[in-house]
Symmetry: C2
Subunit: 431 residues, 2 copies
């Protein structure tokens, strides 16, 4: 130890958010609420490691390669046995597919699971995007066939979640559902081959508008004007799905599936979940139903909850046919938006219900004992740490917004909001 200490001043690492205790407390309420809703539908929890083998991660997932973080051991021994390269997962769908294949014989199908973990994206530091964030996913995977009713259960659960999160009560959100078979079938009927490019452009509708989409379809995909118009007409938001005429068997199937899903959602408030054929989603593994969720007063913000049906993602890792459907909340981005807009009910800096006063060092045993009795009855009780002036101890309770202060020597408890102070017994007191 030298006398003059060396200080290494740390900087916040951009893209890796962390919250103060009072904000974290609300984050916990959100996570608890989401978990409770997922479980209320019988979904089980799993957690997968933060890492997967790099080859597993890159086997699927579109153009996510450039966002992957790989791990290196700082002091790896060059002589030790080589192992597969490890990378941090960038979503929970690929890990779920791998998990399902790996534990296939030990799972009960349909396998209904939820997963609430952090994921990582190796974004450029200057991009200002989250590089670490929570995702909250539900997925169902089955062997050979997966009933379409699950495609309806996904947005029903997410509507319940999103409309019940503390601070989200007044947000106008809408879940939009489509089915890729409609657009795929339409393109087949129109003799369009480069379907991926067309979908990528249609996906930009909300951002760049109808005119630019039309122009791009013709210029970039070589569509004729009438082809582009037919596509635009079909995906038009004003178009009810019952007005769309199928031009191929696949398109008809897509329309039928979408109708079934919407029928199953009729118990939800009007406008909460709607059919919208302009929704296609970027990822290329979706094969049927797809979902997006927007703030109606800020649609350009992008989707806060998305997903869809995939035919055989888990089947990449095992010789089985394992169709699935899933939906995911981009938790941290949503949470941080509400935090920045000061819409979160940020309150106490402590979970405690009661601050137990320490009247004197001699009174410590009695104060501790009173605190123990209250804890056994389910109350959260912080014992003040030093026999300071009562005023100082009260000030501490105020700063942390602890709602009650207990005086073990006089057997009284003070409600910090109303100022009321009454006699109380630890084994009978009610908040």
């Amino acid at each position: 130890m030298t006398d003059k200490k060396k200080i290494y001043k740390p900087n916040p690492v951009s893209g890796f958010p962390e919250w103060l205790p009072e904000v974290r407390l609300v984050e916990q309420q959100w996570l608890d609420r989401i978990r409770a809703t997922f479980e209320s539908y019988g979904y089980c929890s799993i957690e997968t490691p933060a890492v997967e083998e790099l080859d597993v991660i890159t086997a699927k997932g579109g153009d996510a390669d450039k966002e992957i973080y790989v791990l290196e051991r700082l002091q790896a021994d060059p002589n030790e046995k080589k192992e597969a390269r490890l990378a941090l997962h960038f979503d929970q769908t690929v890990p779920l597919a791998r998990y399902t294949a790996q534990h296939f014989n030990d799972l009960v199908f349909p396998f209904k699971r939820y997963q609430m973990q952090k994921v990582w994206r190796g974004e450029r530091p200057q991009a200002g995007r989250f590089r670490e964030f929570y995702q909250c996913d539900i997925d169902v995977i089955n062997v050979d066939n997966l009933p379409l009713s699950f495609d309806a259960e996904m947005p029903a659960i997410m509507w319940e979640v999103l409309s019940s999160l503390p601070g989200m009560e007044n947000e106008k959100i809408q879940i939009r559902v489509s089915n890729r078979k409609v657009l795929m079938g339409l393109m087949d009927g129109l003799g369009i081959n480069d379907k991926t490019s067309v979908m990528r452009i249609v996906d930009k509708m909300e951002k760049i508008g109808r005119a630019k989409v039309s122009e791009s379809l013709m210029r970039e995909c070589g569509l004729k004007q009438d082809q582009a118009e037919k596509i635009l007409h079909t995906v038009s938001p004003s178009q009810g799905i019952d007005q769309v005429t199928a031009v191929s068997a696949q398109m008809e199937e897509g329309l039928k599936e979408l109708s079934f899903v919407m029928d199953q959602l009729s118990h939800l408030p009007k406008g909460s979940v709607v059919a919208d054929l302009s929704i296609v989603r970027g990822l290329d593994y979706y094969t049927g139903t797809v979902y997006e969720t927007v703030f109606l007063d800020d649609p350009g913000y992008g989707s806060i909850c998305s997903g869809g049906r995939y035919d055989d993602l888990a089947g990449s890792y095992i010789n089985k046919h394992l169709p699935g459907v899933g939906i995911s909340i981009g938790f941290s981005r949503l949470f941080d938006r509400l935090r920045q807009q000061e819409k979160l009910p940020v309150g106490p800096k402590s979970p405690a219900d009661i601050l137990m006063i320490l009247p004197s060092e001699e009174g410590r045993a009695q104060a501790s004992q009173t605190a123990r009795i209250l804890r056994e009855r389910g109350f959260k009780v912080e014992l003040y740490h030093a026999a300071r002036k009562i005023g100082d101890q009260m000030k501490y309770a105020s700063k942390k917004q602890i709602p009650h202060v207990w005086f073990p020597d006089t057997g009284e408890v003070k409600n910090m909001e109303t100022g009321e102070q009454v006699k109380a017994e630890a084994d009978t007191w009610k908040a």
Copy 2:
């Protein structure tokens, strides 16, 4: 899409555990229990990012360098702005110290926080050790002075946690407390300079035994026989701390602090927390109280819950004096030990209380509605996904160990354990 699909068969990645749903359910019970106990003492939650700047991580933490995972972006652009190297945290103490310094002005002191996150150790793959695991920590950090009562609160909380985890009820565990000032002061009194090496050897007492410790002290640290004997005599487990004679002021202070801490723990069952001067802990940042926790019938297994007082860890990052004390459960290692010993109460593969039968496709609306009523009342209800034979649906409930099956068409509910089947209303039924 080709007809013959290519299969990438994944292997479990050694050192990164993952559990089946029925084991994960118990893991959640453990995490919930720990969180509830920490909060019942008024500790607030924080989470820090998985990464820290490499320089922050290596600034403290002894010889942990070789266990660090650094991150690389798979497709970093060589022309982009360079940023500090990022590494996965290997514990939660260094991140806490950095967090406390960084948010100093926004925290209320003493800052009492708990943290339950995964940490990573870049172990050699063949070592068979966990490379990703949960740690559950509580720490208190204060400005300038930290009352010694917190040194007693740490093991009191952990005793309550460890003795109440599902499956731990019959385990004989013991928390052992010491104070480094005793041994440091003794070495001062004996004129021993190489204190770190002596402590490192004394730390091996449980593993290598008294004779080998004595030999090592003489051979490796150059101690004379009477010096080694005095040390061994002092740290002897049969030695009560009131029988130890102080040979220096620091030693006397250590003995006094340890006595105070033990006095505060007198309400705990006899033998649950004991003073043991042979406990020194490996990490060099501890300055006073230290803790270890062992299985009494398997002391060689090593400590399952450890920690201690550190004088100024957070002060490495800010020009303040910030003493702290903390204790940490090596969660995953403990959990996996009980899992392997089949001591965990592993049960259902689903969180559901009720499986709602789907009697027919026409009966879906009624079944869904009955499920919704029960969910609103707090029950977890899985709706069976297809109108299969009732026998198949019952079998599914059995496989997942769902305790009740509800027949929405007849309005009856069956208790799967007792076989009893009775009439029930969704809005009044009790489990």
